[in-house]
Amino acid sequence: MEIGEEFGPWLARQLKLAGKTQAELAEELGLTRAAVSAWITGRSTPRPTVMADIATALGTDLGTVHTRTTDTQAGLPVTWYHRPGYPDGGRELGNAAAFAFDADVQVLARETCQNSLDERLTENGRPVRVRYTLHELTGEHLDAFRDAILWNDLFPHYSAVSELAGNQKVGRVVDAGVRDMYEKGRLVLLRVDDYNASGLTGDDYADGKFAAVVRRQLESLKSGRSAGGSYGLGKATLWATSALGLVLINSTLSVPHEGRTERRMIGRLELPWREVDGRPYAGPAWFGRPDPDSPGAEVARSWWADEETVARLHLSRDSDEPGTSFLIVGAHDVASLEASGSDLDDDIVEEEGDEDTRDIRRMHKRLVQALGRDFWAAMTGGGGRLPLLEVSVRALRNDGEVVVEETKVDPSVEQPSRTRALRAYYDGTTVDRLTEAGHVAARNVPLKLPLSGGVVGGTLGIHQAVLLVTEAAGDNDRPINQVHSLRGNRMTVKKATVPRLPIGTNPFQAVLLVGEAAGEAAPFAKEAEEFLRAAEPPEHDRWGQTEELTLRWSPSAYRRIEGLTKEVNNAVRELVARPRRSSREGGEALRKALTVKKRPKAKVPTGPVIPVLNGLDATIGEAGEWRITAEVSIPRGDEIVPMAPVALLDVRSGGRPKLDWAELEAVEGCEVEDGTLRFPPGVRRATFRGATDVTSHPVRTALTRLVLELRAGKGE
């Protein structure tokens, strides 16, 4: 059994954590204070029977006392620690990293999902599973949650920030967040869980993943070369998405810390500088257990929570699989306002005029959309390899009431054609030339890698990227004719439409796999990966000129990427379009002028308006005649042209036999006069009824198709 620290110091710290004196412990154990003192100074150790009593007194189990690899659960109560104001009087009115992002769940999805991908445990070959949960709390559930996060302790800080609200952005956001909670009596939690990921490992303060996320700004500890992020900005989206600037974290570690792995808890609050009860506070605050080793035992550190506490904070995890759960308190989605109407369907019932940034159904939809768009490739497997990522999104209300069923983001639904293309590539079923709908054409495209270290013009080697092109899947597969570019982490980085395609080109979708995405065997895959990672800005939405590229390669290195883009566009055009034929008789300009094509129609002149047939109901009468009831709509106009209804029988070619009317009568809005409909001025809608004359039918009525037309004038 692993033995932790010496008994004496350990016991001393546990007493301090629990706020007990040596005398109090001695009294509980029925021993003298001197005996306890002797243990602490290391002059003696307690007998095994006493060990059990000590465990009881400290509120822990015998094993913990014996191994001493961790602290007991007893201790100072979990509380908020607000970083005091700087002694130099400096004020920070917000976190610059969080300023870089607007509250946008789609950006959050991209950043968090990318982090989870980067932290995937690779040894077992399984995908990292990420789940987004939108959870709306109201009524007693909201109250219970507020108690759990010690809302009453926080409230003075929020009030102080609200007073500053007029002056700066973070204050206004927080003020609106608090007001929304009180006015509408609800709070939206957005939880991001990942499983089969490394979790927040490492010490509370020293270098490690925990400190990188919880304690530090702009630090990224991504180790893998193909990692997506490298700026450490991504985590700021968590706080940017919270209108209250509050995120709680529960992590299950892949590597034990303090002898434990499960339920490592911490909360972090991002507020601007404020003054509460005459004391200035710098900004951030942490929710945790006061660290007895810190000055005044005030600094809050992570604690190992019990299951009940975790449940109260809505942070229970499904299993003991490593990974992290982030709970964004007061999630809102400002970007959805802009997007609404354009890319959302009508099935979201919207209250009139109520532009709600906290609609969990809409957020659900936007999350699924963004995840499908950016991570379809990571979610795609094939050819015996598992996908890297599985993602699902769900929406709940209060105590497990399901608003939107857990939806697994399916790449073949979100990106049908590209997923098909990538699968075909993994399965090895691609072709060289597109000759059949549904085929996937693959082609190598060169990326000339520059020499690093400021050498201008030199080429290290040529990396062969893989371009996949396939037909777009139906009308919903939009936008069409785009290339999605991705590297090792399989996140879509660049989405670009291929320019200069001839008219009538069949809609297609393309994928460009560069760097390690092109396969381990591709030449210079590692170098290309590194190069492109350096060329990727924090938004992860393109490759181009960046400072890092200039520093590590040369100021002109980005031209290599332009070269790649050009090669890609040419290759795509070669695959989907025919080369233009030149030198045709008569010249291109004349050819173009002599093509019959749709032009905008001429302006309709003012004058008498012409009624049009708007609806038709027809049945076959007992004698075999067609009986019709027709509706006519009339454009606005002073004078209405009289129209003659004409019944014809449809034929495949040639003239259509005309039927005579046996009856023709007006129902509404018109008069029949000598086989012609006359409309009184101002009428916009009319109905008439008629029956054909059977003797004029050339064939049995049941075998005919009737065509009814309105003709101006006499209808000859």
Binding site: L434, T435, E436, A437, H439, E471, I503, G504, T505, N506, P507, V576, A577, R578, R581, E585, G586, G587, E588, A589, L590, R591, A593, L594, T595, V596, K597, K598, R599, K601, A602, K603, V604, P605, I610, V612, L613, L616, A618, I620, A630, D650, S653, G654, G655, R656, P657, K658, T701, A702, L703, T704, R705, L706, V707, L708, E709, R711, A712, E716
Partner: protein, 331 residues
């Protein structure tokens, strides 16, 4: 408005072309790239590969019936799906049965054999679903709403009909009839399969001007010339199309199905604005064959032709470029 004496599906069938291959005279096959057809324009261009000697083409098809086609209590039974290729010029109609992809699928697929000798140019391809309704077999229950065009000549899958342009020396051409027009720079022949513009190469520089691709005054003059020619052509083809109409027993004209139909469908809305093309056709036909109104209509026909030729734009550019040239010479 059309109505059937039995129940059918309201929504149309969607038709896709999935592959095209040509059978050559020597018995070999050439599988064409998917760029031989355009799903947006709904055109198959069999001339793309540049083969002079192809015998037949095989077009792979896939059709999806609208929802409701396969409900158990449907009014129809024995549903079959046929692809029909209709050529309005040669009056050839070819039908092929499609087969259902799977037992409970609404997708049907098959392939259509197009014999080159059966067609002159553009044929239209539609799909019908037929079944037995009320005891009558072979009734159409749904069809495609927009036909595909199979063009056996064109080398570009674009929807619009392109009129022919040919160069010829009017004095020395083997087409002897051109000699009568030796002093005309161009002439339009609407009696050909597709209306053809003959450009007289005896007029020195005309071909060079038409082929020029430069910018500056030269291109503006070229555009002006093209606009002038196009106005002539459109006027001529409109008259050609109007003069060759088939007439129904009642005296109403029948809308033509070949290039004439395409030309009329495009130009009639400018000639008789504000009415359906069928009605417009009747009105124009009445005026042409009736006692009065034909002369008055010429202005509208001319207007429609000018619009199609984009004459005002070409003229505007030419004038602006001239003004610019004048300003530069003053400096």
């Amino acid at each position: 408005m059309k109505i059937y004496p039995y129940k059918r599906l309201n929504r149309p069938i969607t038709l896709r072309v999935t592959s095209v291959s040509l059978k050559l005279a020597d018995g070999t096959r050439d599988q064409l790239d998917t760029s031989a057809y355009s799903t947006q324009q709904q055109v198959v261009a069999l001339g793309v590969a540049g083969h002079e000697d192809w015998v037949s083409a095989t077009i792979g098809l896939s059709a999806t019936l609208p929802p409701g086609a396969d409900v158990p209590d449907a009014a129809w039974s024995d549903v079959r799906v046929v692809a029909v290729l209709t050529d309005g010029e040669t009056n050839v109609r070819t039908a092929t049965h499609l087969t259902r992809d799977a037992e409970d699928s609404r997708d049907w697929s098959g392939s259509l054999e197009v014999l080159r000798d059966d067609h002159l140019g553009r044929a239209s391809l539609a799909v019908d679903a037929v079944g037995t309704v009320d005891g009558v077999a072979g009734r159409s229950i749904a069809e495609t709403d927009r036909s595909w065009t199979v063009d056996t000549v064109s080398d570009e899958p674009v929807g619009g009909l392109q009129l022919e342009v040919r160069k010829a020396s009017f004095t020395r051409s083997s087409r002897e009839w051109l000699r009568a027009y030796a002093d005309a720079p161009w002439i339009v022949d609407t009696s050909a399969r597709v209306p053809t513009v003959f450009v007289n190469t005896d007029v020195e520089g005309i071909v060079g001007l038409l082929n020029s691709s430069g910018s500056g005054v030269e291109s503006k003059v070229r555009d002006l010339l093209v606009a002038q020619m196009a106005t002539d052509v459109w006027t001529a083809v409109f008259h050609g199309a109007m003069g060759d109409l088939e007439v129904e027993p009642g005296g109403s004209p029948v809308f033509p199905t070949d290039w004439q139909g395409e030309v009329l469908r495009e130009m009639l809305p400018d000639v008789v604005p504000g009415v359906h093309v069928e009605e417009a056709l009747r009105q124009v036909h009445r005026r042409r064959t009736g006692d009065a109104g034909w002369a008055e209509l010429q202005t509208r026909i001319h207007y429609a032709a000018i619009r199609r030729a984009e004459a005002s734009r070409a003229l505007g550019y030419a004038i602006r470029s001239l003004e610019q040239a004048n300003r530069e010479s003053e400096k």
